[in-house]
Amino acid sequence: DVKVTQSSRYLVKRTGEKVFLECVQDMDHENMFWYRQDPGLGLRLIYFSYDVKMKEKGDIPEGYSVSREKKERFSLILESASTNQTSMYLCASSFEYRSKRQPQHFGDGTRLSIL
């Protein structure tokens, strides 16, 4: 089974702090994604990466950055945390098999509170 591991289930930080959320997958997937999940809004894509050192903005990238130095690891960075970034953050990974994109596999999520 695919394993997508997020470093923390719960995290509490203060306004203005630099926050790192880590995600690791163990299946050599090319694609990795960061979403935030908010009630009534579903999941919204923040950033994604299709290869090492490659990244693309999703639908809501403002206030976030990402890093992918190794294929298995994709980090989400809140440069200066604000209270409106309090949310559940989900990491996912996927791959292509015979030119067909496969479903995304998700981590358990990190519930981040910014005080």
């Binding site: 009534g40 995304q104 998700f106």
Partner: protein, 117 residues
């Protein structure tokens, strides 16, 4: 741009009965995938079922089946013989299949389903 709409924020069903969750989407694409994902309380999101748009036959996975109406852009999920373990939030999601797309998903707002004993 593509959008996915789930108009039922919450639903409930008695154990062993059948329930249908609605999903509509908007796209100008002809080739795409549609998915239903399940997120149990405090647990990981998992894939329930997938439908490829070029296939006319509705996908089925055990007690889960879809009613895919391409012209109407509708993709509903039917859960038969509901079980307590089906209690979860369910998300409908859309994925384009055009070149250069890395498999980004566009999600609906989610439907919270409670199965009652």
């Amino acid at each position: 741009a593509q959008t996915v709409t789930q108009s039922q924020p919450e639903m409930s069903v008695q154990e062993a009965e059948t329930v249908t969750l609605s999903c509509t989407y908007d796209t100008s694409e002809n080739n795409y995938y549609l998915f239903w994902y399940k997120q149990p309380p405090s647990r990981q999101m998992i894939l329930v079922i997938r439908q490829e748009a070029y296939k006319q036959q509705n996908a089925t996975e055990n007690r889960f089946s879809v009613n895919f109406q391409k012209a109407a852009k509708s993709f509903s999920l039917k859960i038969s013989d509901s079980q307590l373990g089906d209690t979860a939030m369910y998300f409908c999601a859309f994925m384009k299949l055009t070149r250069g797309n890395t498999g980004k998903l566009i999600f609906g707002q989610g439907t919270t389903l409670q199965v009652k004993p």
